[in-house]
């Protein structure tokens, strides 16, 4: 038996999983239309690769990855591109984003795929490229482009953690996936292991999923895998948070702003491993995923759903009941209320809960904090939520940062236990967004100054550049004339070199200035992960609302 570690705090909310995990995964019907956002992942939005009116095949690229940190988007079925415009999407801000609307032709006709019978014959960069082209992103909720996480680093990565914990109440999509497709998950994990050159694979599954645990164990035995261990971890929320699961399985604590790979661990969701396998072996892009539909419906269950399927059409398969007020994407602890019931399912959609008054009764009015520290006892990040609350409320953001605001993972455990019903996490989101806004302002000011400072020298430089370029060209031309037969390739190079070095110098200068500006900024936010950075925009939109709430909570009249 492997020695398991504990993390501080955690809570035991009712799991409510039995409703939806009794029946197998069902293929959802083809919907009447698909609304596919171009920005479903962390990083840059994809850019449209199709035109309105164009006919596309299932699996055809419709959005190109843009830049390093980005991901591709594909047509989930064959049909006609009906629109490329801004629509409401499955995000918390309620801000419309660029989407491609696809009207299915009903034939569900695949584009020609590029399967790979033996991935061992591929180089690592080929594999990564395939994943990138297939739009594989983390399916546990973070939607980070997987190819970016699958680099071996200088630091030896000893452990690959596969996250099948699924600690949030109501959600059972990973549970069912592991029960039904264990072998394929393991195959995907093998590819990941090769890319990361890790020794061991630890698969953490909460012990309230015995069927999934035995299915995975059976698959490990059957496939005669070495160095893969399926481990039952205690059921405690948020035990499925990457940091918490890594801690439980390995004892390693990954602090906020630290990369787990620097400590020798990388973590992926089991669903991501499955998609990795499909993408490599069959060349299938990520165009569908398993979604739990539960809550105020009479047949809660799991569906295999095409990305872009309107949520209400999906929920219709589960026989919805009256009284649903809105949908939650994700679980009740960290889920996001949907701005509309028609938004399309995205790669991050693990669960849709139809929320009614009965299932999620409206919050009681908040009372003042009585300093009972139930929140601190529950906090997996080992923070003092009651202090953070106090500082956030008083808008004492410096203090909030001193008390590690940015180590908060927004798991909601503190809000859950608070006897005064204080929406603590909302206050932290508010504080974080305020700090980000301040920093954005600061950055804008810095940029302006930077621009001004470089203005003069740029004019100078441009003059010089032109002159040098001209000189170089003339030189190259005359050299080419005399030595044409001898070394043509190097000649082309001399044509470019002076320019490059100059650019490099300028860039170094700018970088240096930036570093200096960054050095004055608070440490905590310097280490924003791309995920956090991506949240900024979303949170920005919420700010006004939260601020209002923070200033005038119902029955809360404490000072500050």
């Amino acid at each position: 038996m492997r020695k398991l570690h504990q993390f501080h705090g955690g809570i035991h909310p009712p799991t409510n999983k039995a409703q939806s995990n009794q029946t197998p995964i069902v293929q959802a019907n083809l919907p009447s239309k698909l609304t596919i956002p171009l920005h479903q992942h962390v990083g840059n939005s994809a850019v449209p690769a199709v035109e309105i009116g164009q006919h596309v095949l299932k699996g055809q690229l419709i959005g190109c990855a843009e830049g390093n940190l980005s991901s591709s988007v594909h047509a989930s079925t064959s049909g006609m591109i009906a629109a490329i415009d801004k629509q409401l999407v499955a995000n918390s801000s309620g801000l419309p984003e660029l989407c491609i609307t696809l009207i299915p032709d009903g034939r569900d006709e695949w584009i020609e795929l590029d399967p790979c019978l033996d991935w061992l014959e591929c180089t690592h960069s080929e594999l990564r490229l395939k994943l990138r082209k297939a739009g594989v992103v983390g399916l546990g909720g973070a939607v980070f482009p997987s190819d970016m996480k699958l680099h071996a680093s200088q630091q030896k990565i000893k452990t690959l953690v596969l996250n099948g914990a699924e600690c949030e109440p109501y959600i059972t999509c990973d549970d069912l996936l592991m029960r039904e497709r264990a072998a394929e998950i393991l195959e995907g994990a093998q590819i990941m292991r090769a890319l990361l050159s890790t020794e061991e694979i630890l698969i953490g599954i909460e012990d309230n999923k015995p069927e999934a645990i035995s299915a995975m164990r059976a698959a490990v035995l059957e496939g005669k895998y070495q160095g893969i261990e399926v481990i039952a971890v205690p059921t405690v929320y948020p035990g499925g948070g990457a940091k918490q699961l890594i801690r439980v399985l390995t004892g390693i604590e990954v602090a906020a702003g630290v990369r787990s790979t620097n400590l020798g661990v990388q973590c992926f969701n089991v669903g991501t491993a499955y998609s990795t396998w499909r993408a490599i072996r069959f060349g299938e892009p990520l165009i569908s995923r398993i979604v739990t539909v539960t809550g105020n419906v009479s047949h809660p269950q799991n569906f295999e759903v095409l990305i872009g399927t309107p949520m209400d059409e999906l929920v219709a398969h589960a026989a919805p009941l009256n009284g649903t007020r809105y949908y939650i994407m994700g679980g009740p602890m960290m889920g996001v209320p949907m701005p509309s019931m028609q938004v399309g399912v995205i790669k991050a959609t693990n669960c849709i809960i139809a929320a009614s008054k009965e299932i999620f009764p409206p919050a009681q009015p908040a009372l003042p904090c009585i300093r009972c520290t139930r929140c601190a006892d529950a906090c997996p990040a080992e923070l003092q939520p009651q202090e953070l609350y106090w500082f956030a409320k008083a808008k004492n953001f410096d203090k909030a940062e001193d008390y590690h605001l940015f180590d908060c993972i927004e798991c909601g455990a503190c809000s859950y236990v608070c006897p005064s019903n204080i929406p603590l996490v909302q206050y932290y989101r508010f504080a974080k967004s305020e700090i980000w806004a301040q920093e954005a302002n600061q950055k804008a000011a810095d940029t302006a100054r930077e621009r001004h400072e470089f203005r003069e020298s740029r004019i100078e430089r441009e003059k010089r550049e032109k002159a040098e370029k001209l000189a170089a060209k003339e030189k190259a031309a005359s050299a080419a004339k005399t030595q044409r037969t001898e070394q043509p390739p190097t000649l082309v190079k001399t044509d470019v070199n002076p320019e490059d070095t100059l650019q490099l110098k300028i860039q170094t200068a700018i970088d240096h200035a930036k570093e200096q500006a960054a050095a004055i900024k608070p440490l905590n936010t310097e280490q924003l992960t791309p995920a956090q950075q991506a949240q900024i925009d979303e949170i920005e939109a919420q700010r006004a609302r939260i601020r209002e709430m923070a200033l005038a909570p119902v029955a809360d009249h404490t000072k500050g």
Partner: protein, 344 residues
């Protein structure tokens, strides 16, 4: 969907339930109190409760705060009970009313109301009374069977509200000093611990009757810990500190210093450990801070009891430690996840 945000579920526990549970846990101690000292304490409890609720409502109204949610939180009632339990049951009615009114209005609401008062309101009420009305605060009822005369419930009522005793009965005949007080006085008169404890007001461990009341509070405290209403750290640290210090002194000179058990089961030590120090609003929030706080309170209780001017030190020890809470909290902030000294 504006107006909704995660988490969408909450644990069904409210401030009101927590306080109610704490009050429930006081009941065994109160029952034993009635058994040994008669029902007068029930009158003080009622009086204090009514006063607390009306003053709380009045203060909320003056400050334009919503009345219903705060009245329902049961915190004022708990303060009232704790204060009533630290006042002699036969004290005149106005003493209870003045003490409670002061506790709720000044030490709770003037400092910002629920969650903001730096000092334990019940202990402030007690401190004000013992300084302003020292005589009234030391006339404790003798346990049943010990006093020269026992009063009937009607007689007790009469005395509390009208200050009249049945003809021929003197106040001295029905009241006495507390066991801690008696001990102090007798030691002053150069008595020896062993002889003093042979006096009839002492029982097995401490005061006759009052030791059982303390045991009742201990029982209630264990209930609170078992129900996870309070954590064990504060009470255990406090009682252990008191025990160890008393033990050291007792070992050095048993003729002068009573046993550690005497200290644990005397005065307000038990009720203080489980019901007063554990008031969340006025105690530290960090784990280390809680240990420090309880240690300080235990030390001060012993010092005040043994060398100070008051018979019991619990109330002042609590108040003195309350002052230190912001400082303790600020200097004992725990290390957060992944940022401890040593990475495992």
């Amino acid at each position: 969907m504006p107006g909704f945000f995660s988490p969408f579920i909450t644990k069904p526990v409210s401030v009101s339930q927590i306080m109610l549970n704490v009050m429930l846990a006081l009941i065994p101690g109160i029952a034993i109190y009635v058994w040994y000292f008669g029902p007068a304490i029930l009158i003080s409890l009622t009086l204090a409760s009514l006063t607390a609720l009306s003053v709380e409502a009045l203060m909320l109204k003056i400050q334009n705060k919503p009345i219903a949610p705060f009245l329902k939180d049961n915190t004022a009632l708990l303060t009232a009970w704790l204060l009533a339990l630290s006042i002699p049951p036969l004290a005149p009615w106005w003493l209870v009313v003045v003490g409670t009114a002061f506790a709720i209005s000044i030490s709770k609401h003037l400092y910002g109301g629920l969650g903001n008062n730096p000092f334990n309101p019940a202990m402030i009420g007690y401190a004000v009374l013992i300084i302003s009305f020292p005589v009234h605060m030391t006339h404790w009822l003798s346990p049943n069977g010990l006093g020269a005369i026992s009063l009937s419930f009607m007689d007790q009522l009469n005395y509390i509200f009208q200050g009249t005793l049945p003809a021929g009965v003197k106040l001295d005949a029905i009241t006495m000093a507390t066991p801690l007080d008696t001990l102090k006085t007798q030691l002053h008169l150069n008595g020896q611990v062993k002889e003093i404890l042979d006096m009839p007001i002492y029982g097995r461990l401490a005061g006759h009757g009052s030791e059982w009341v303390a045991a009742g509070f201990l029982l209630g405290g264990i209930y609170l810990i078992a129900k996870r209403i309070i954590s064990w750290h504060l009470p255990v640290a406090y009682l252990t500190t008191l025990f160890i210090i008393a033990g050291i002194f007792h070992l050095i000179d048993p003729t002068h210093y009573v046993t550690p058990m005497f200290h644990l089961f005397s005065g307000a030590a038990m009720i203080g450990a489980f019901f007063i120090l554990t008031d969340p609003v006025t105690s530290p929030t960090t784990p280390k801070g809680k240990w420090l706080f309880a240690f300080g309170a235990g030390l001060l209780t012993y010092l005040i009891r043994t060398f100070g001017g008051f018979p019991d030190g619990m109330a002042f020890a609590t108040l003195l430690m309350n002052i230190c809470v912001p400082l303790i909290d600020a200097y004992t902030q725990p290390k957060v996840f992944g940022k401890k000294e040593k990475r495992s």
